[in-house]
């Protein structure tokens, strides 16, 4: 198994021993910084909680109370990231809110030693102040890794929105006149490039995001491309608009 060398800064391609390739979308420095800000706020809030909880100890003994406070602050500072990433599968609360996750750079399961090491190296990443060293390293690194990530062999990825696509919703169940001409549909499938089909499908999925004029222009353009590939009889196409034509073509291509 190996992680192929990335050419982009936005994803980490991985090839498994079985020859399967997939890519993990890398988190950018801004979203990571925002997650860090959330985590700092959480640690600050825990610190306040510690202060309140240890107040009775301070009343009993200033020496013992302040010692407990110092130790608890220190432990929380170091253990917050480690425990969260361990228990929440690579996520702190900040990362969970920002939909980020720490994963092994080779796509394997995170090991506890990796989590501990990347969190210990936060001290160095934070040098000289405000995470400057870690931030610069992150910007210069192809996998957006800070020093702790490099040592631990981890990357921070975006957790994608993973709803299963609903094709019926996209294509609908209207009568498709093109399907009556099976030989022309077969010729279309033979001549069309997969990229053009994918483009048409995406245009249908995202039609509601386009304003009226843009939508007309996009579907006119796409319909023009498809019409150049195969000419259907006029009685089949003249009664339908460009968008419906594209919809029928996509259905004919995907549903044999």
């Amino acid at each position: 198994m190996r992680a192929t060398s990335p050419s982009h800064y936005d994803s980490l391609p991985i090839r498994t021993p079985e020859g399967i390739e997939f890519s993990l979308p890398l988190a950018g420095p801004v979203s990571r910084l925002m997650a860090l800000a959330v985590d700092l706020m959480v640690v600050g809030a825990i610190g306040k909680g510690i202060q309140m909880l240890t107040a009775p100890f301070l009343a009993l003994s200033v020496d013992a109370g302040s010692a407990i406070q110092i130790l608890l602050f220190f432990v929380v500072n170091f253990l917050y990231g480690i425990l969260c990433e361990w228990l929440l599968h690579g996520q702190t609360l900040g990362k969970r809110i920002l939909k980020l996750r720490v994963v092994d750079a080779a796509g394997l399961r995170l090991e506890p030693s990796q989590i501990v090491l990347r969190n210990l190296l936060r001290l160095v990443d934070g040098l000289p102040a405000f995470y400057l060293l870690g931030g610069f390293t992150c910007l210069l690194n192809k996998r957006m890794q800070r020093l702790g990530d490099i040592a631990a062999g981890t990357v921070v990825v975006r957790v994608p929105e993973v709803a299963q696509p609903d094709l019926d919703q996209i294509l609908g169940s209207k009568f498709n006149s093109l399907l009556e001409h099976r030989h022309l549909c077969a010729r279309l499938r033979q001549r069309v490039r997969p990229e053009l089909t994918a483009l048409a499908l995406q245009a249908l999925i995202r039609r509601d995001q386009l304003d009226a004029n843009s939508r007309l222009a996009v579907f006119k353009d796409l319909a023009g491309h498809f019409r150049q590939l195969v000419t259907f009889p006029p009685e089949v196409t003249e009664a339908i608009g460009d968008e419906q034509y594209v919809r029928n073509v996509v259905e004919a291509l995907y549903r044999k």
Partner: protein, 329 residues
């Protein structure tokens, strides 16, 4: 070639759903061990989803579906190829067996730590011998600025009352400060070892200068009684930080290694964490000893007792590092 996406999704969806359910079980319980038939089913579902991803990637170029399958397959891949040792963590075995073995396995890195610190000690001694005025530059600590014999006289007069009412606070500050220094010493290994070298050398310089200052003023016994009880544990703990730092530097540079940098770090990271964990344990002990024992001097505590305690600790430490975990092997 194109595929019938609708039919394809319809036919495959139950398998993806089943894989999702299994993955959720793993996420909810990372130590889950599936029975053989379920493990086989899991592997089958992974292969089927991976095959679907291949088809989608090759034929349909459908980004939303591809993204979904990539996420599904990547999670299943991580679970199937996980290399994590599922044995439950036993802190006692880890400290008494794993740590000494790891320490010995990385002995060369520890030797480097010692060598650099000794070099620093020599530099500190020589620097103060040549230029006594450099004391304030080498040791920028107010409590070490005065004449050692005056401090000793003051300590004997105070009878250990100087820290009265602050001992626990002082101990906690020592623990946290020394732990941070040790983590820095380790973490700066990522600068190809340069940061670790500088920190170890600088620590040595301070130690050497302090030692020279007290010895030159005729306060050797006080120095030993003051430093040995906590120093014989605290200094090795910082040296352990250096050892971990050099393990990082070695994994980064990779001299004489044919495996990739990522693989070198994968091998090294459990050792680094083990060494650092043990260093933290040592520093907790050293912090307690420094606050509650080292700060008492004669007439409260005879120097002989303190020196003997320090020597006994050191002997126990050496024996532990040398022999620990051997019988269990």
């Amino acid at each position: 070639m194109l595929i019938d996406l609708g039919k394809f999704v319809e036919a495959e969806r139950p398998h993806w759903d089943a894989l999702e359910v299994l993955l959720k079980r793993f996420e909810n319980n990372p130590d889950l061990l599936l029975p053989l038939d379920e493990a086989q089913r899991f592997h089958y579902l992974y292969q089927r989803s991976a095959s679907a991803l291949n088809k989608i990637g090759t034929f349909a170029s459908e980004p939303e579906l591809k993204r979904y399958l990539e996420w599904l397959v990547s999670r299943a891949y991580a679970e199937i190829h996980e290399s994590h040792d599922r044995k439950s963590f036993n802190p006692w075995k880890w400290f008494t067996i794993s740590f000494p073995r790891t320490f010995r396995r990385r002995w060369q890195a520890f030797q480097m730590s010692i060598a650099l610190t000794v070099l620093g000690v020599l530099f500190g001694c020589i620097a103060l011998a040549i230029d006594p005025e450099a004391k304030s530059v080498i040791m920028p600590f107010s409590h070490l600025g005065g004449k050692p014999s005056e401090r000793v006289a003051q300590e004997m007069k105070d009878k250990g009352e100087r820290l009265s009412g602050h001992k626990a606070h002082f101990s906690a500050e020592l623990m946290t400060h020394n732990t941070k220094v040790t983590i820095f010493t380790m973490g700066l290994g990522i600068t190809f070892g340069l940061g670790t070298i500088l920190l170890l050398f600088y620590n040595g310089v301070i130690l050497g200068a302090v030692a020279f200052d007290y010895i030159a003023d005729g306060q050797l016994i006080f120095l030993l009684g003051w430093l040995l009880p906590h120093g014989v544990i605290e200094i090795p703990a910082i040296l352990l930080g250096g050892q971990a730092g050099f393990v990082i530097a070695h994994a980064l540079i990779g001299w004489g290694s044919r495996v990739s940098r990522r693989e070198r770090f994968r091998i090294a990271s459990p050792d680094i964490v083990t060494i650092m964990g043990a260093a933290a344990v040592f520093l907790i002990w050293a912090g307690i000893v420094e606050a509650f024992f080292s700060q008492y001097h004669e007439p409260v505590l005879p120097y002989g007792v303190k020196i003997a305690f320090g020597c006994a600790e050191f002997a126990a430490l050496v024996f532990f590092l040398w022999r620990g975990g051997r019988r269990a092997a």
